[in-house]
Structure formats: C-alpha cells, structure tokens
C-alpha cells in the first residue's frame, strides 16, 4: 500500500503522503478554492504557501483559521472550509462583489445609521457574512504548559542567516535558542539554498549549546526582552540576552485586477508545492520572473510537469531562460481573468499591446518584502536582523555572513525603514487580501481625509488581518508615498504589535491555570465527612457536608465545629511590638489587657478598610494577631513594609501555615470543651473576648473566645500537625451533644443573622468604617494611626450611602446582588442575602443611598431578571441576639 493515512476533508477521505501539509493534500486532489474572502466572499486558493497570506486558512479538527500550507497533514484529521454559504465551493454570498458600489470602505460607519433601529439587524447580517470561520463553542480548551528559556541569544528563524547566527554564537561558547515556525528547511525546494540549510543544520545540531525549537511560530517580541513562541502543546517563553531576527523575506504581493484568484501563485510558493511536495500547482502556467532565484523556481516547475505557456522576464533574466520556453522580454501582467480560477492572463507588451494568454496558473516572482513584523516589534534590548529580513534577495553567502555578524553584535543596529524597496504603486485590484480592501477603497479613504499610513490602516483595516501586513504593508506605504511625496512621516512604517502569528486562546493562557492550592491539615477529614469543597481565595474550604440546615441548627441549638485554619495568624513581638501595632491599627492597642483580645479593622493610608481581624495580648509586647483568610499573605507584606519604614524593633512571624484552628460554636460549646480540656474553661478562666492556654487531650491550644456565628464559641489555635487528632477528639466527645461540623454555607446564614460584615464581600475599596456602622472601631481620639490624616479630611464629607441590615418577609430570600429601589429610583443593591431558618425571614446586608442624610424605612429588592420584587425593612442592629447575650453566656 502506498497510501496509509488519510485526512477527512468535508466527508471525503483524501490520502496523505510523507511530508504532506494539509494544503498539499488538497492541491493534489484538485481542491483549488480553499476559502472565501472576508468581505466579498471571493474565491481564494493557495498563494504564498509560506504561512503568510490568509488564503489557505481552513478549519482543522474544529480549530478555525488554521493555515493549511504550514500544517502537517495527519491521519484522521478533520479538515473543512469555512465562511461560505451554502458552501465554499459554491458561495452565493459572492454576490456581494457585484454590490461593492454599495459597500464602500468604512461602510459600517456610513450605512445603517439612519434610522437607528436598523443597525442591530444590519450588524447581525454583517457578522454572519464576514469572518473567517465559526468557533466551536462547545469545545473545551486543553490546559497548556509554559516553558521558560534563558539563553544568551535567541534566534528567530532557521534559514541560512538564522542557522549561521546560532552556530556562530554557540562556537563562541554562548547558549542559544533557535526558533522556527515549521521544521527547519521544510519550506525550501531542493537546490543550493536547501543544501546550505541542511549543512548548517547538521553543524548546529552538533552544538550542545543550541536548543532548536521547531513548529513554534514566534507570536511576539515584548519588552524585557521576551520572545513568545506558540507550539501546539506548549508556550515557549524565551528571555534572551540578545535577539537575532532572521525571519527572511516573503515574495512581493501582486496587485492587479484578478490577482487574488485561485491559480495565482507567488514564486516560492509554487516552487515549494512542486519541489517539496511533488504536486504541480497547475497544468499550463504563465511565469513572471523578477528575481535571481526565479530561474530555479521555473526549472522546479518544469520538472514537476508544469507546461510553461509564457515566461515574462526583464532582459537580463530572459537571456538565461532555456531556449525552448516562449518568453516575453520586459512585459507586464496586468490582469487575470476567470470566475473561480484563472482561465487566462492579460500581458502588456513593451510596445503597449495587450495579449491574452490562456492558462490555468500564474506564477509571480516580482521581488521581496522583508518579513520584518517581529523586527519592528522589538524595541528594547539588543535586537538585530540578519539575512533577507534586512537585505531582501541577498545570496546564500551574504546571508551566512550577515547571520554570523548579527550574532556577534553587542548593540542594536537600527533598521532602516527606507522607501527605496517599496513596490510600485498598485493601480487597481485588491491590495489587502485579508480584509478585501481594494485600491479604490484606499483612494476613497484618502479623499475622506485619512492621509497617513497609521490612520489609513485603522480606517480601512488594511494590514490588520491575519497576515498582519506581510502582504500589503509595503503597498500601503507606497500608496501614501505617492500621494504625499514631500511629507516623510505620513508614509512611515506602521507600529507592529503582537501577535505576529495567530495563536489560540489556550496557547495565550498557557501556564495560567497553575493555581496555588492551599489546604488545611483537615482537608482529608472533610472529604471523609462528605464535604463539598470550594475555593476561597487560594484555599480549599468545606462549603457544606451535605445538609446545610442540619449544620445551621447544630450551631444554633447544639454544638458544631468549623475548620478555621485558613485564618491569617501572626505572632508579633519585640520591644517595639506595642508601639508598632498601635501605629498600625485604628483601635487602642496599649490598653489591651493580658489575656484579652479586640476586634480590629485594618485601614490603608487613604483611611479605607482593607481587612479586619483580631488582636490578642499574650504577654507584654507579645501579640497574637489574626486576619481574614484571604488577607494573610498581603498583610505580611503590609506589616513588613511599615516595620522597615519605621525601623522599629519588631519580630513578625507568619504562623498561618504552622497553626491549625478549629472553632467550637454553639450553646454546648463550653460543655464540650470542659469534657476534653484539662484546664478550666469557665467564664472566669476564659471570659468573652478572653484568650487562654488550654490543653486538650494533650494538645496545647490557644483558646480565644470570639464568635462570628453569634453563639458561644472558642477558637482553638494549635499545631497544625495535630489538627486531625484534635478534630476527632472533639467530634467523639460531642457525639451525645448532637455535634455536627458546619461549612461556609451555614456560616453565611449565621453571620448575616448577626449582621456581621465580610470585608471585600460587603465592602468596596473605598469603604470607611462610618459607612458600614463600625464607627466604634475607629478611635479618633488616638493622635496617630495609619489612615488618620485621610479620615480627618473625609470627616468633612457626609457619606452618600451606608451598608445596612435589611429584613425581607416571606419564605425565601431575594437574590444576592438584587437592586434596591424606592419608588422608581434605584437606591442601592444587596451585597449578601440569605433566608434565616430561625427568624423565618430573609436577612441581608445592602448598600443604600442616603437622601439628605436620611435612610429610607423601606426598600424594594428587584431581582436581575426583574420578575421578583421583595419589600424589605431597613433594620438598625443585628437580627439575632442584638444584645450579644448568647456570645457572653
């Protein structure tokens, strides 16, 4: 069997040969229309065959806009063409070409604007007609990895110049990463260039200091410098000392009527198809020769069996043509005819005659355009171009020397943006094949006042398509240059930006899914108890154990445990510890008695709340400080910042990871603790807000009597290594008291019944204590604390809104985030809302606007779909146990 593998092309099985790309498979099978153009749905076929132009883009295995000419064919690949109706082969939408008088450049700014109601319909139609293929919304992207490289030199492009640069640097003892978008050499047809590449590659492979990264298109050069290259399964991040850009040149894009028809090929592309893949681009060709290498291309085509109908060449090249080829000296191709494929071309002879030559293929070698997008992106560090990207059309020896020299440069040589190499100004035809911008469109935009490359590009979207200007950027500059020959900056090269090559969202987000996951010592214990775990910042915490109501009643009526090991826990000590904390916190730190704790807010210098927690004095100048679960990391930074700023003698020990914490909450909490503790736990030993060392089943714990749930509760801070032991002992001892652990879901109800605020859920970045009813936590009589100068100033501004508890009657609660209305006026929104099983009403916190300093008595909560409306009464204090009798029991 000759053919072993097949691709699935729109339901047909097409055989694949060794070294095939998707495009070469399709070309061999006679598929010539690969896509439809963006705006007019013109048929498009293979053109550059080097990964630059947009014509060969197809959908491969559900991924749209894949360039088939650089995508290796693989067995079972599903390939389909996109953006044609009913099909790309026969596209009715190509009728738009005949309506182009109605669709001038920027038509979406001009049409459908009156009457206004027309625009949404027009937009729907335009977005269906335009585009380059649908995205499969059901596909789940893979999570990809990033790989970092830190070489002395990064070389972009594995041609003669790039390989020479890599070899030179490696021989000087430097580490090199060499990146290529395909396999090195694969695009080049057999010949002297290919032989040079093969030899160099062998020499480079022998160098252990060179890392060759193939099939990894470079998508951008960023500051740093950083080079990103998107391989299929990994995003390469290269952080080099220096960069050599050796991306070569692409053949000059041709612009004349019909130049975008299938059957029109650029010389290197046709030679690649014939020489590398052994597939002939067509049967009868007209060949235009304009470059030194085009003679070799012609030979390659002939060998592949392409009949040459006519060779058009300048005198110097024509003299070297084989004699059996009909030739035309100094002629010019001015038009290609055909509806779905080239049928004939019109050639202008030097004498001014127009000759129509029937053929099915037109091969154009008109000159070179440097592939300099990446070179123009690189704006810092040592970046140098080598080979054809800086001197298009240079010889193999010149490229070799240029690569060697660039590798040794220790500073950047500025790239000359000369206008000398610009192509002739196009007169008619489609100049931007990505976005279907014609020469007429350009002229029209110019007349409308868009008179420089940068704004012409923005208005016409020329150079902004998949080729990123590789085809038409030089033509754009040439056009402006002709219109405005005296003002240089108008025709300057436009700013190049990443991505230079397309990449998928999965590639762009590679490496971002590596979340830090923090688990408490009790993680497995929760799983055993059937917990549903959820993310709370970087922590994995138990949301519930299957029955939220049972957990809730255990806290309110019996006794319950909660794993609060996620809290930020700090030991702050040293001779200046009291002074340090007193400066940091807005409450009195000096007056905390030994064995007592206080609730405290944390303010930033703007006077806004950014965290809260508890401060306890263990011994003189020795404090235990807790913060919210999410705050621990950033607050350590905050502590250290102020310690270093004030140069105080303080030790800061972050005990978050070394200490576990279990909260025992409920009316039977003391009973439970006394059963397992060898130390007294009565009100005299641990009063409300008290803190004491207790030994529980041989485990030394710091017991703090604080409660977020509103019930009698003790937080037991203990070595995390003994968390499981302690948890098990408590669960066992509380079995006859009806003990059950509770998770975050139950806690959210419990704390709302008490009106407790969760910083960052209920507060914004500009929340002051006064706005959330915690004025008492700010001691303005203190002469100094962080945020105080700002609060002095803010005191003169009356608050515009307040966070207040709101009660909703009924047997379910409104949605969190519901809008709050008074009459027709929107006055705020709910930040938290739950149904209280005990109080049999909805309990919530919400921001409400003050009207002349007064809160409304009632608000209406409107759900996001507007269907549900609940009347709520604004409350003044906690809904549950407002006097705090349960806490102090």
């Amino acid at each position: 069997m000759r053919f072993m593998t097949f691709i699935d092309f729109e339901g047909r099985k097409l055989p694949v040969r060794d070294g095939d790309t998707v495009a070469s498979v399709l070309q061999r099978e006679g598929v010539t229309v690969l896509s439809r153009s963006f705006k007019y749905h013109r048929p498009r076929g293979l053109y550059c065959v080097s990964g630059d132009c947009p014509n060969c883009m197809v959908t491969v295995d559900g991924e749209p806009a894949v360039r088939s000419c650089i995508t290796p064919a693989a067995d079972g690949q599903r390939v389909a063409r996109a953006n044609g109706w009913p099909s790309v082969e026969h596209d009715v939408l190509s009728m738009t070409w005949f309506m182009r008088w109605a669709l001038p450049v920027g038509f979406y700014y001009k049409l459908f604007t009156m009457p206004r109601w027309l625009w949404p319909f027009a937009q729907k139609i335009i977005s269906r007609v335009a585009g380059i293929g649908p995205v499969d919304l059901t596909s789940k992207p893979e999570k990809l990895e990033r790989r970092n490289h830190h070489p002395d030199l990064a070389v972009l492009g594995g041609g003669v110049a790039g390989l020479s640069a890599a070899l030179s640097a490696a021989r000087d003892g430097e580490s090199v990463v060499l990146l290529d978008e395909g396999m090195i050499g694969e695009k080049v047809a057999p010949g002297p260039v290919r032989s040079a590449i093969d030899d160099l590659l062998q020499a480079v492979r022998a160098q252990s200091r060179v890392t060759i990264v193939e099939r990894s298109p470079v998508t951008g050069v960023y500051e740093g410098p950083l080079v990103t290259a998107a391989a299929a399964k990994v995003l390469h991040m290269v952080h080099p000392g220096r960069i050599v850009v050796a991306t070569g040149a692409a053949e000059r894009h041709a612009v004349f009527p019909g130049s975008d028809l299938p059957g029109v090929w650029l010389g290197r592309g046709a030679a690649r198809m014939a020489g590398v893949h052994g597939v002939r681009p067509g049967k009868q060709a007209v060949v235009v020769l304009g470059t030194e290498e085009s003679l070799a291309h012609l030979e390659t085509l002939r060998k592949a069996g392409v009949g040459i109908k006519l060779a058009v060449a300048p005198a110097a090249l024509a003299a070297r043509l084989p004699t059996d080829i009909p030739s035309l000296v100094d002629g010019q191709v001015v038009q290609a005819n055909g509806r779905r494929h080239v049928k004939s071309v019109v050639v202008l002879t030097p004498t001014g005659d127009r000759r129509v030559v029937p053929c099915d293929t037109l091969v154009l070698s008109l000159g070179f355009t440097p592939r300099d997008g990446l070179l123009r992106q690189a704006r810092q560090g040592t970046v140098n171009g080598a080979g054809q990207v800086v001197s298009p059309g240079c010889s193999v020896d010149e490229a070799r020397a240029s690569g060697t020299q660039a590798a040794q440069q220790r500073s950047s040589v500025p790239v000359e943006q000369s206008v000398a190499n610009l192509p002739p100004v196009p007169e008619a035809g489609i100049v931007c094949i990505c976005e279907d911008v014609s020469v007429g469109d350009l002229a029209c935009a110019w007349r409308e006042g868009y008179t420089s490359t940068e704004i012409l590009k923005r208005y016409t979207t020329m150079t902004m398509g998949p080729c990123q200007g590789q085809m038409c950027h030089a033509h754009l500059r040439a056009f402006v240059r002709q219109q405005e020959p005296n003002v240089q900056w108008t025709s300057a090269a436009t700013t190049a930006r990443p991505p230079a090559r397309g990449l998928t969202l999965a590639q762009a987000s590679a490496g971002f899914d590596h979340h830090l996951e923090l688990r408490t010592a009790l993680h497995d214990r929760h799983l055993e108890a059937g917990a549903r775990m959820g993310w709370a910042g970087a922590w994995h915490r138990a949301e519930n154990y299957g029955d939220v109501l049972k957990e809730y009643w255990a806290v309110r009526r019996q006794v319950s445990l909660m794993d609060v090991g996620t809290l930020g826990k700090f030991r702050i000590c040293g001779p200046d510890a009291t002074e340090f904390l007193d400066r940091l916190y807005p409450m009195h730190v000096r007056t905390i008695r030994e064995g007592r704790s206080r609730y405290t807010l944390m303010l930033n210098e703007a006077g806004y709340i950014f965290d809260d927690g508890m401060i306890a004095l263990l011994a003189p100048n020795e404090f235990f400080v807790s913060t919210t679960s999410s705050g621990a990391e950033s607050i350590e930074g905050w502590f250290r910042d102020w310690k270093e700023t004030w140069k105080l003698k303080v030790h800061i020990v972050n005990q978050t990871a070394m200490l576990g914490a279990i909260n025992i909450a409920g009316p039977h909490a003391r009973e439970l603790l006394s059963r397992v503790s060898t130390d007294p736990v009565d009100n005299a030993a641990i009063p409300y807000a008290g803190i004491a060392r207790v030994t529980v089943r041989g485990i030394s714990c710091l017991a703090i009597r604080v409660g977020f749930t509103g019930e009698l509760s003790y937080e037991l801070h203990h070595p995390a290594s003994r968390s499981v032991e302690l948890w098990n002992a408590l669960m066992e001892a509380g079995a006859d008291l009806g003990i059950a652990p509770h998770g975050l879901d139950a806690l959210k109800v419990l704390r709302l019944e008490k009106g407790h605020v969760i910083i960052s859920q209920d507060t914004d970045f500009d929340t002051t204590a006064g706005k959330i009813g915690l004025d008492w936590a700010i001691k303005m009589e203190k002469p100094f604390f962080i945020g105080r100068p700002s609060l002095d100033r803010l005191a003169s501004i009356p608050p515009a809104k307040k966070l207040v508890p709101i009660r909703f009657a009924g047997d379910s609660a409104p949605d969190e985030g519901a809008q709050l209305m008074v009459g027709d006026e929107r006055v705020g929104y709910l930040t938290s809302c739950r149904y209280s099983p005990l109080l049999k009403c909805g309990v919530s916190l919400g921001w409400v606007k003050l009207a002349s300093g007064v809160l409304p008595a009632q608000v209406v909560a409107v759900s996001s779909n507007g269907k549900r409306r609940d009347v709520g009464d604004i409350a003044t204090g906690p809904f549950y146990d407002p006097e705090g009798a349960k806490l102090r029991a």
Binding site: Y222, E223, E633, D641, P789, S790, R793
Partner: protein, 83 residues
C-alpha cells in the same frame, strides 16, 4: 512581561516573584512628625504617572520577603538601583 528585578538578596528574578508596592512618594508620617494635612493628602492621593524614571517599592514575596526600593523606567521597564 519580562520585567526583571535584580534583588540584592536573591539575584536577578522575574517580576512575577514580586508584589508591586506602589510609587515611593515621600516619607510617611510618624507619631513624632507634625502632619501638614495638605501635603499628606497630596502624598497619599496624587499620582504623577511619570513617563520615565520613578522610584517604587517591590516586595519579594517569593524570595527573601523583603521590601526593595527600585528605580524603574516606565518607558522601557529597565530597573536600576535596587536596594
């Protein structure tokens, strides 16, 4: 993306190992200093958005856990004088 900071304690590291601590804008007050409300307000609230060199604070959370003061060129991301 590829901003690197030469930490005096840990060596050259990517900026992703650091937290940005804002622009260093004057000395914060202490209990001993007399606070000029207008000057303090300007220090805390006003940002100049410099195009060029500015002095910043960076916290090396994934390294030495020390605060560094660094001069960064906001145009090129070149970082100098880290201490």
């Amino acid at each position: 993306m590829a901003l690197r900071i030469d930490c005096p304690n840990c060596g050259s590291r990517p900026f992703t190992e650091f937290w940005f601590g804002g622009v260093l804008a004057g000395e914060p007050p202490t209990p001993e200093s007399t606070i000029d409300p207008a000057a303090e307000f300007a220090r805390v609230w006003y940002r100049s958005n410099v195009a060029g060199m500015q002095t910043e604070r960076w916290f090396h959370f994934a390294g030495c856990r020390r605060w560094l003061t660094a001069c960064r060129d906001t145009l090129t991301h070149a970082v100098h004088d880290v201490h």
